[in-house]
């Protein structure tokens, strides 16, 4: 079994490397800010320094890590579930659905999307979950299934644009929280507190567990519906459970950090470029890689135009959009078509 042992070792090494990178980025995240590394050094003696690190830098860095992990997981589940390498929470419209869910909850209850009370965070997460589920179902309905990459992407874009328009309309009708909602919709970790991080940690644990348990379905589906059915897998129920995982992961991330594009697309691709593995491991590794990507992007967003900062969603949109273009160009060059 030497050949198989080498193959398992590669996945394990990647996992360890990502954990190590996560630890380094979390440390860096706690150190980057207007007061620099000094706050970390003085936090033992200085109450203000302690507050800066523990109440601002750490929760947002941990929040970025958790949101990235949720989006990476959602991407791996979406790509396996729809047998489509370009499936991503953002491109499937589910992120826009989640945003509309938050916007609707905000309009109905008059609460700012940046509120930090944990009950509000859970409420927004629930609304985002419902929005994400509705968006995925709409995309599937419009695409008439999952077989055609181009149709699925087009349907996802259409659903995303339409739901985004509804979110904007909701905003216009509530001018008092327009500014807060706008920064939220651009995608930012600046407002993530410990309550939001707690909600994301709970959702991540749940989604990782459910994703791992359902991963044999994704492996079976990789050979097509007929083969998966012949293996005794109950596809309708398991598909519904996987859509719920996808929507919960996307909805939770979006409810806390707004629209952050392409992390879900890039993470599974990057994992697969290093190691070919089963969906159980792919979900875990994509989650870790998504976490590393978003934490790194968040640091970059804080550093690029310091002392100002960029919304991290803008940065991932620019970087991820270029990556998507490159992927599509490569797929066309290899296959000579868009399927």
């Amino acid at each position: 079994m030497n050949a198989m042992a080498a193959y398992h070792r590669k996945a394990l090494l990647l996992g360890l490397a990502l954990l190590l990178a996560s630890a380094a980025l979390l440390l860096l995240g706690a150190s980057v800010g207007s007061t620099g590394f000094e706050s970390v050094l003085r936090m033992g003696q200085d109450a203000m320094a302690w507050q800066i690190v523990s109440e601002i830098r750490l929760p947002r860095t941990v929040g970025a890590w958790l949101a990235g992990a949720l989006l990476g997981l959602a991407g791996a589940v979406a790509q396996g579930l729809f047998r489509n390498p370009l499936a991503d929470p953002y491109l499937l419209g589910s992120a826009s659905g989640a945003t509309l869910g938050v916007a609707t909850a905000m309009a109905l209850f008059g609460v700012s999307p940046l509120a930090t009370h944990w009950l509000v965070r859970i409420g927004f997460t629930g609304a985002a979950f419902v929005g994400a589920v509705v968006a995925v179902l709409l995309t599937l309905l419009l695409a008439k299934g999952v077989q055609h990459t181009l149709r699925l992407l087009l349907a996802g874009v259409i659903v995303g644009v339409v739901l985004g328009a509804f979110s904007s309309l909701t905003l216009l009708l509530n001018p008092d929280i327009l500014q807060a909602m706008q920064s939220f919709m651009l995608g930012s970790t600046a407002f993530v507190g410990w309550s939001a991080a707690g909600v994301m940690a709970a959702a991540l644990a749940l989604c990782l567990l459910a994703g791992w348990l359902l991963s044999p379905v994704l492996d079976g589906l990789a050979l097509g519906e007929a083969t998966a059915t012949s293996l005794g897998l109950r596809l309708p129920q398991m598909r519904a459970a996987l859509i719920a995982v996808l929507a919960l992961a996307t909805g939770t991330a979006v409810a806390q950090t707004g629209l952050i594009a392409f992390v879900g697309l890039a993470a599974p691709h990057l994992v697969r470029s290093v190691v070919k593995t089963t969906h159980g491991r792919l979900i875990l590794l994509s989650s870790l890689l998504g976490a590393v990507l978003l934490t790194a992007a968040d640091l970059l967003a804080r550093w690029l135009v310091a002392p100002q900062e960029l919304p991290v969603g803008v940065l991932t949109a620019v970087l991820g959009g270029s990556y998507l273009l490159w992927l599509m160009h490569r797929a066309t060059a290899h296959e000579g078509g868009g399927r």
Binding site: M4, L213, D219, L233, K276
Partner: protein
């Protein structure tokens, strides 16, 4: 007759078009049956309907029990399926793909046991795919990939194996290996049903189901003259069946 699979009045529609019309067929246990016929005859559709993978009118019985009455996993342990041109799973290794065949045997949440690993090794060795077990499916040639997919179906260790064009992409030596493998399975009491385009290979089976235009026009032993006449008829008399060196072959009528 002790039938492994029995279809009664099977009809399949794709939209407004009926592609299988009231097909009844009984496939005997412990035998190899090949389904043959011209393009569009409904061979693959019939096979899918018999496997319970396609909505259809009529009924199918697996090992004497209605297919719909079998719990999904139990049915999956009794009936293995190898589809035509199964694509995807490019990122799974050959070993992982073969291990999928063990899913119906593994309790949910349980990792593969020693039995599963042994069955997968046996199946990969039987199809001569063991040597590249750690290679991703996407990096294999068409023929190599087909042998891994065949191993996946074998790893199920089902009583009944349904295979749609299992010889696609296989070179002649590996086609012969496949024939020997099927004969071995049948010798061990398994039932094999295959859809084959290569008539000379299909004629190596025990029985032939000859189809045309969505109907079964003949079902008989491969060596029977009536079977050969039915074959020649559905191919518009453009072939003739002839015995060469003790084997029935389909030759083009030029």
């Amino acid at each position: 007759m002790n039938a492994a699979l029995q279809g009664q009045g099977i009809a399949v529609r794709f939209g407004a078009t009926e592609v299988l019309h009231d097909v009844s067929v009984a496939l005997p246990r412990g035998r190899w049956t090949s389904i043959v016929g011209p393009n569009g005859a409904g061979k693959s559709t019939l096979l899918k309907a018999l496997a319970g993978l396609l909505p259809h009118a009529g009924s199918v019985q697996l090992l004497g029990r209605p297919l719909a009455d079998w719990p999904a996993r139990e049915r999956a342990r009794q009936l293995a399926w190898l589809g035509q041109n199964e694509h995807g799973a490019d990122d799974l290794t050959a070993y992982d793909v073969a291990m999928l065949g063990r899913l119906p045997h593994q309790p949910w949440l349980s990792p593969p046991g020693a039995d599963d690993h042994a069955a997968v090794e046996r199946a990969l060795r039987a199809t001569q795919a063991w040597d590249w077990r750690a290679r991703p499916l996407g990096q294999l040639s068409g023929g190599e990939r087909q042998r891994v997919l065949l191993a996946r179906a074998l790893a199920v260790q089902a009583e009944v194996l349904l295979m749609d064009e299992p010889l696609a992409n296989l070179d002649p030596p590996h086609q012969v290996d496949w024939l020997l493998l099927v004969r071995e399975l049948v010798k061990n009491g398994k039932t094999v049903v295959s859809v084959l385009h290569e008539l000379s290979l299909a004629l190596q089976a025990d029985e032939l189901v000859v189809m045309a235009a969505g109907r079964v026009v003949h079902h008989g032993a491969c060596g029977e003259a009536a079977t050969h006449r039915a074959l020649e008829r559905v191919f518009d008399g453009r072939i003739h069946i002839q015995q060469v060196a003790g084997q029935w072959l389909s030759l083009p009528k030029l």
